[in-house]
Symmetry: D2
Subunit: 163 residues, 4 copies
């Protein structure tokens, strides 16, 4: 039943006002580029979106998580957990409307929107420049969970521009 | 995680426009009467509400369920399953906004609203007069599920009018 | 055209989730009491609702108006103008969803909800006890505007408790 | 007051869930192309969107208008008037969320979305191939009204592809 409830709520969550536009945008947009270009555009949109919100309290992980969750709740974009691991800060974003808005086929590029938003927020909080945020591969919990890792990108040669 | 997602969605589901009014209504209203009076009022509201919707296709259980679910989806009041059992038709209503709207304390009277709506719909479909709809005791799935049975009320003496 | 747009927006404003419930509530409720009792109940609901919001900045009329308008915008309950007149502070509430929610027939009692909210907010700000808020008679702008006056109630003998 | 109410409602109309995304999309998108390219993309999105809705009753202008207005009301995208003039069918679209969603600066390209939707609907109804829908120049009623004319395009040489 929990699964059926999740499906019900997921469907209802995405605003009827824009659902048709977003589906059309997704179809047109996806037909025009490679996944990496689609991700780059969404990532850039995410950065632009992020600037419009005030996520400024980095006094603790809890405070930062609460700050972000106020933004997400107001937009009805789900909720985030920030978890400290040995070599990374893990950003787990749950219950976003992305799958319903852009479609299941877009799940390999639509979450770059969140990646851009989190990257922008961490930068504006003065994050160490050697850290980089990137989405973990794979679709988790049927597209209800996206995972991002914020960590040192040691393996990358400096002349290589990732995405 | 599924549980946390359910909680997130549940919270978001209830319209911000009326949440404060409904909470105040619930508090005032509950302070003024016995549970059975509160149920009777909600039941009556449910009957009145039901008349405003077109639930007319009783050609099959599936058709009826689909008909009801169109109403529920449009209102964002959850979804229903109709299940035929040996001695009853079971009406299982999932994911309604009642708990968040009227509060967890109101769960012993707020679902009478649904009872009234279903009773009205079954009657308007020409249901056998000897059948009666009544809510099964107990809070299921933390208030995300209400169960109603439509069945013969043999045990009731005819001179007794229940509620 | 402006009039037609207003009508369009007015219709759309009231949440579909609760519109049917509120109409049923209004019909049942209105059938059970006198206008003054209906007003008293709505007024009390308004007081209870008001306590749940933070309207605390009374440093200036502008600040107070802005504070109230943040609450109203978040709930999508319209907007308020506070205007200082010679013998009263005038509270003009525009674009509320009350007419659509409770019906045009309820316009003589539904605005008592707003009266209760404003009264509670002014009291919590430490308003002079000799002042009283009361709704000005009449339906303005086809139920899109309600006017309340906050002023000394000299004409009332002290032993008379109004409402 | 009517004007202030219109502004209030206009602001509230656009879904908070997508407003930030749409503003970012508008800014990024507008920076990447000429107005005619932006219009062409929006027009194409409009055609794709239109296919998802059932606007099939062309038995009379009234019926068609009503059919379209059911779609618009469900999406909360405003309302349309169809007016027959001597040499054209005039499509007047009121109270759309386009200005708030894409911004006032986008008013020279965002309405191509509506143009594409109407064009698609008229075509699917079997409109005479010699007719063409095009938006009338100018911003009317501060972006609350867009006017489209459906008429013979005599002045266009056949080898010229407009837009």
């Amino acid at each position: 039943m929990a699964t059926n409830n999740i499906r019900y709520y997921e469907e209802q969550q995405c605003s009827v006002q824009w659902r048709s536009f977003l589906a059309a945008f997704s179809a047109e947009f996806a037909s025009k580029g490679e996944v990496k270009d689609l991700r780059a555009f969404m990532y850039q949109l995410g950065r632009t979106m992020a600037s419009g919100f005030n996520v400024a309290d980095g006094s603790s992980l809890q405070a930062l998580e609460a700050c972000m969750n106020r933004v997400w709740a107001e937009m009805n974009w789900g909720w985030v957990e920030l978890v400290e691991e040995a070599d990374a800060l893990v950003v787990a974003h749950h219950a976003s409307p992305l799958k319903i808005a852009f479609g299941a086929d877009a799940l390999n590029w639509s979450p770059a929107l969140l990646e851009g938003m989190y990257a922008q927020w961490f930068e504006s909080l003065g994050m160490d420049k050697s850290l980089r945020l990137s989405q973990r591969d794979g679709v988790f919990e049927e597209g209800q969970l996206f995972v991002f890792d914020l960590k040192k990108q040691l393996e990358e040669p400096s002349y290589f521009t990732r995405r």
